[in-house]
Amino acid sequence: MLQPTRFFLAAALAWSAAIVRADLKAGDPFPSLAAAGLSGPLPATERRVVLVDFWASWCGPCKASFPAYSKLQSDYANRGLVVVAVSVDENAAAYERFVKNLHPQFVTVHDKAQQLVRQVKVPTMPTCYVIGRDGKVRFVHQGFHGEDSARELRQEIDTLLAESAPPS
Protein backbone atom coordinates (compact mmCIF):
# COMPACT_ATOMS: atom_id res chain seq x y z
CA MET A 1 0.00 0.00 0.00
CA LEU A 2 1.23 3.50 -0.84
CA GLN A 3 2.28 5.73 1.99
CA PRO A 4 0.48 9.09 2.09
CA THR A 5 3.56 11.01 0.91
CA ARG A 6 4.05 8.78 -2.09
CA PHE A 7 0.34 8.76 -2.83
CA PHE A 8 0.12 12.54 -2.98
CA LEU A 9 3.34 12.77 -4.96
CA ALA A 10 1.92 10.37 -7.54
CA ALA A 11 -1.37 12.27 -7.61
CA ALA A 12 0.43 15.59 -8.11
CA LEU A 13 2.47 14.15 -10.98
CA ALA A 14 -0.65 12.79 -12.64
CA TRP A 15 -2.40 16.14 -12.25
CA SER A 16 0.49 18.11 -13.67
CA ALA A 17 0.72 15.70 -16.62
CA ALA A 18 -2.97 16.25 -17.32
CA ILE A 19 -2.65 20.02 -17.59
CA VAL A 20 0.18 19.85 -20.14
CA ARG A 21 -0.98 20.45 -23.72
CA ALA A 22 -1.93 17.31 -25.55
CA ASP A 23 -0.21 17.93 -28.88
CA LEU A 24 -0.71 15.62 -31.81
CA LYS A 25 2.36 13.41 -32.11
CA ALA A 26 3.75 10.68 -34.31
CA GLY A 27 1.54 7.60 -34.24
CA ASP A 28 -1.69 9.49 -33.57
CA PRO A 29 -4.42 9.40 -36.22
CA PHE A 30 -4.82 12.77 -37.91
CA PRO A 31 -8.31 14.28 -37.59
CA SER A 32 -10.59 14.13 -40.61
CA LEU A 33 -10.10 17.10 -42.91
CA ALA A 34 -13.55 16.59 -44.37
CA ALA A 35 -15.22 16.95 -40.97
CA ALA A 36 -13.29 20.07 -39.95
CA GLY A 37 -15.48 22.63 -41.70
CA LEU A 38 -12.68 23.86 -43.96
CA SER A 39 -13.56 26.17 -46.80
CA GLY A 40 -12.08 25.23 -50.15
CA PRO A 41 -11.95 22.05 -52.21
CA LEU A 42 -10.30 19.11 -50.49
CA PRO A 43 -8.30 16.59 -52.53
CA ALA A 44 -8.64 12.83 -52.15
CA THR A 45 -6.28 11.79 -49.37
CA GLU A 46 -7.21 8.17 -48.67
CA ARG A 47 -4.28 5.76 -48.84
CA ARG A 48 -1.98 8.59 -49.86
CA VAL A 49 0.93 10.28 -48.18
CA VAL A 50 -0.35 13.66 -47.04
CA LEU A 51 1.54 16.73 -45.85
CA VAL A 52 -0.74 19.01 -43.84
CA ASP A 53 0.73 22.43 -43.16
CA PHE A 54 -0.79 24.97 -40.79
CA TRP A 55 0.03 28.53 -41.80
CA ALA A 56 -1.10 32.13 -41.51
CA SER A 57 -0.60 35.23 -43.62
CA TRP A 58 0.99 37.05 -40.66
CA CYS A 59 3.66 34.36 -40.17
CA GLY A 60 6.98 35.05 -41.91
CA PRO A 61 8.33 31.48 -41.99
CA CYS A 62 5.01 30.33 -43.45
CA LYS A 63 5.62 32.55 -46.45
CA ALA A 64 9.14 31.16 -46.80
CA SER A 65 7.82 27.61 -46.74
CA PHE A 66 5.40 27.94 -49.66
CA PRO A 67 7.92 27.66 -52.52
CA ALA A 68 9.39 24.54 -50.90
CA TYR A 69 5.97 22.91 -50.58
CA SER A 70 5.16 23.83 -54.17
CA LYS A 71 8.36 22.07 -55.26
CA LEU A 72 7.52 19.02 -53.16
CA GLN A 73 4.03 18.83 -54.61
CA SER A 74 5.24 19.09 -58.21
CA ASP A 75 8.06 16.58 -57.66
CA TYR A 76 6.02 13.96 -55.83
CA ALA A 77 2.47 14.39 -57.18
CA ASN A 78 2.79 11.43 -59.55
CA ARG A 79 3.96 9.17 -56.73
CA GLY A 80 0.99 9.94 -54.48
CA LEU A 81 1.90 12.89 -52.31
CA VAL A 82 -0.82 15.40 -51.46
CA VAL A 83 0.07 18.73 -49.86
CA VAL A 84 -2.76 20.50 -48.05
CA ALA A 85 -2.05 23.89 -46.52
CA VAL A 86 -4.53 24.94 -43.86
CA SER A 87 -4.74 28.67 -43.18
CA VAL A 88 -5.68 29.70 -39.65
CA ASP A 89 -6.22 33.33 -40.64
CA GLU A 90 -9.15 35.01 -38.96
CA ASN A 91 -9.11 37.61 -41.71
CA ALA A 92 -10.48 36.05 -44.90
CA ALA A 93 -9.21 38.91 -47.05
CA ALA A 94 -5.66 38.41 -45.75
CA TYR A 95 -5.90 34.70 -46.54
CA GLU A 96 -7.10 35.34 -50.10
CA ARG A 97 -4.49 38.04 -50.71
CA PHE A 98 -1.68 35.77 -49.51
CA VAL A 99 -2.76 32.89 -51.76
CA LYS A 100 -3.21 35.20 -54.72
CA ASN A 101 0.27 36.65 -54.31
CA LEU A 102 2.14 33.40 -53.79
CA HIS A 103 0.33 31.17 -56.33
CA PRO A 104 0.95 27.90 -54.45
CA GLN A 105 1.04 24.73 -56.53
CA PHE A 106 -0.80 22.79 -53.84
CA VAL A 107 -4.21 22.85 -52.21
CA THR A 108 -4.91 25.64 -49.74
CA VAL A 109 -7.97 25.61 -47.51
CA HIS A 110 -9.18 28.04 -44.89
CA ASP A 111 -9.88 27.06 -41.29
CA LYS A 112 -11.62 30.34 -40.59
CA ALA A 113 -13.35 29.13 -37.44
CA GLN A 114 -10.00 27.66 -36.29
CA GLN A 115 -11.77 24.40 -35.58
CA LEU A 116 -9.12 22.04 -36.94
CA VAL A 117 -6.18 23.92 -35.48
CA ARG A 118 -7.79 23.86 -32.04
CA GLN A 119 -8.27 20.15 -32.42
CA VAL A 120 -4.69 19.56 -33.50
CA LYS A 121 -3.22 22.16 -31.09
CA VAL A 122 -0.24 23.11 -33.20
CA PRO A 123 2.75 23.96 -30.99
CA THR A 124 4.03 26.78 -33.20
CA MET A 125 3.46 28.49 -36.53
CA PRO A 126 4.01 27.00 -38.99
CA THR A 127 3.73 23.32 -38.13
CA CYS A 128 3.44 20.58 -40.71
CA TYR A 129 2.39 16.99 -40.23
CA VAL A 130 3.53 14.24 -42.57
CA ILE A 131 0.85 11.58 -42.60
CA GLY A 132 1.34 8.03 -43.82
CA ARG A 133 -0.96 6.05 -46.08
CA ASP A 134 -2.67 4.66 -42.99
CA GLY A 135 -3.83 8.13 -41.94
CA LYS A 136 -1.53 8.31 -38.94
CA VAL A 137 0.90 11.11 -38.22
CA ARG A 138 4.44 9.92 -38.90
CA PHE A 139 6.49 13.10 -38.64
CA VAL A 140 5.92 16.54 -37.16
CA HIS A 141 7.89 19.63 -38.21
CA GLN A 142 7.73 22.70 -36.02
CA GLY A 143 8.63 25.87 -37.89
CA PHE A 144 10.25 26.01 -41.28
CA HIS A 145 14.03 26.08 -41.45
CA GLY A 146 14.75 26.52 -45.14
CA GLU A 147 16.82 23.90 -46.93
CA ASP A 148 17.18 21.79 -43.79
CA SER A 149 13.41 21.38 -43.49
CA ALA A 150 13.02 20.70 -47.21
CA ARG A 151 15.73 18.03 -47.13
CA GLU A 152 14.23 16.30 -44.09
CA LEU A 153 10.77 16.37 -45.63
CA ARG A 154 12.06 14.77 -48.81
CA GLN A 155 13.69 11.95 -46.89
CA GLU A 156 10.53 11.33 -44.88
CA ILE A 157 8.26 11.49 -47.91
CA ASP A 158 10.52 9.07 -49.79
CA THR A 159 10.28 6.66 -46.86
CA LEU A 160 6.51 6.87 -46.63
CA LEU A 161 5.91 6.62 -50.37
CA ALA A 162 7.97 3.43 -50.43
CA GLU A 163 5.65 1.83 -47.89
CA SER A 164 2.75 -0.18 -49.22
CA ALA A 165 -0.77 1.05 -48.59
CA PRO A 166 -2.72 -0.75 -45.88
CA PRO A 167 -5.43 -3.15 -47.08
CA SER A 168 -8.74 -1.37 -47.55
Partner: protein
Amino acid sequence: MKANPFRPFLAALLGALGLAVLGGCANAKLVRVQPWERATLADYTMNPARDPLATVNAEHVYFSRESASGGRGVGGSGCGCN
Protein backbone atom coordinates in the same frame (compact mmCIF):
# COMPACT_ATOMS: atom_id res chain seq x y z
CA MET B 1 13.68 7.10 18.47
CA LYS B 2 9.89 7.21 18.58
CA ALA B 3 8.10 7.89 15.28
CA ASN B 4 6.00 11.03 15.06
CA PRO B 5 2.32 9.91 15.00
CA PHE B 6 1.32 13.07 13.11
CA ARG B 7 3.70 12.45 10.25
CA PRO B 8 1.12 10.86 7.86
CA PHE B 9 -1.25 13.76 8.47
CA LEU B 10 1.49 16.30 7.85
CA ALA B 11 2.40 14.50 4.64
CA ALA B 12 -1.24 14.49 3.56
CA LEU B 13 -1.53 18.20 4.32
CA LEU B 14 1.61 18.92 2.32
CA GLY B 15 0.32 16.89 -0.61
CA ALA B 16 -3.04 18.67 -0.54
CA LEU B 17 -1.25 21.99 -0.55
CA GLY B 18 0.81 20.91 -3.55
CA LEU B 19 -2.32 19.85 -5.44
CA ALA B 20 -3.95 23.18 -4.67
CA VAL B 21 -0.95 25.03 -6.11
CA LEU B 22 -0.91 22.87 -9.24
CA GLY B 23 -4.64 23.36 -9.55
CA GLY B 24 -4.01 27.07 -9.83
CA CYS B 25 -1.81 26.38 -12.86
CA ALA B 26 -4.71 24.60 -14.52
CA ASN B 27 -7.14 27.43 -13.92
CA ALA B 28 -9.15 27.79 -17.11
CA LYS B 29 -9.52 31.52 -16.52
CA LEU B 30 -5.85 32.11 -17.28
CA VAL B 31 -5.42 33.57 -20.74
CA ARG B 32 -3.08 31.60 -22.94
CA VAL B 33 -2.55 33.09 -26.37
CA GLN B 34 -2.18 30.07 -28.61
CA PRO B 35 0.23 30.07 -31.56
CA TRP B 36 -2.63 30.39 -34.05
CA GLU B 37 -4.11 33.36 -32.21
CA ARG B 38 -1.15 35.70 -32.61
CA ALA B 39 -2.23 37.67 -35.66
CA THR B 40 -2.59 40.86 -33.65
CA LEU B 41 0.71 40.35 -31.84
CA ALA B 42 2.43 39.84 -35.19
CA ASP B 43 0.98 43.03 -36.61
CA TYR B 44 3.41 45.69 -37.78
CA THR B 45 2.09 48.18 -35.24
CA MET B 46 3.15 45.85 -32.41
CA ASN B 47 6.79 46.21 -33.39
CA PRO B 48 8.45 48.72 -31.02
CA ALA B 49 11.18 49.46 -33.59
CA ARG B 50 9.02 50.55 -36.51
CA ASP B 51 11.24 53.49 -37.40
CA PRO B 52 14.62 52.17 -38.61
CA LEU B 53 16.24 55.63 -38.55
CA ALA B 54 15.18 56.25 -34.96
CA THR B 55 16.47 52.80 -33.99
CA VAL B 56 19.84 53.48 -35.60
CA ASN B 57 20.03 56.85 -33.85
CA ALA B 58 19.23 55.33 -30.48
CA GLU B 59 21.82 52.61 -31.05
CA HIS B 60 24.38 55.27 -31.91
CA VAL B 61 23.61 57.20 -28.73
CA TYR B 62 23.95 54.10 -26.60
CA PHE B 63 27.21 53.17 -28.30
CA SER B 64 28.68 56.70 -28.03
CA ARG B 65 27.60 57.35 -24.47
CA GLU B 66 27.92 53.93 -22.89
CA SER B 67 30.09 51.94 -25.32
CA ALA B 68 27.18 49.53 -25.37
CA SER B 69 26.31 47.69 -28.52
CA GLY B 70 23.91 44.90 -29.39
CA GLY B 71 21.72 42.99 -27.00
CA ARG B 72 18.61 44.73 -28.22
CA GLY B 73 15.64 42.85 -29.58
CA VAL B 74 15.11 39.26 -30.60
CA GLY B 75 14.41 37.60 -33.88
CA GLY B 76 10.91 37.92 -35.26
CA SER B 77 7.95 39.77 -33.88
CA GLY B 78 5.27 38.70 -31.47
CA CYS B 79 3.89 35.92 -33.58
CA GLY B 80 6.09 33.30 -31.95
CA CYS B 81 6.98 31.88 -35.35
CA ASN B 82 9.90 29.50 -34.92
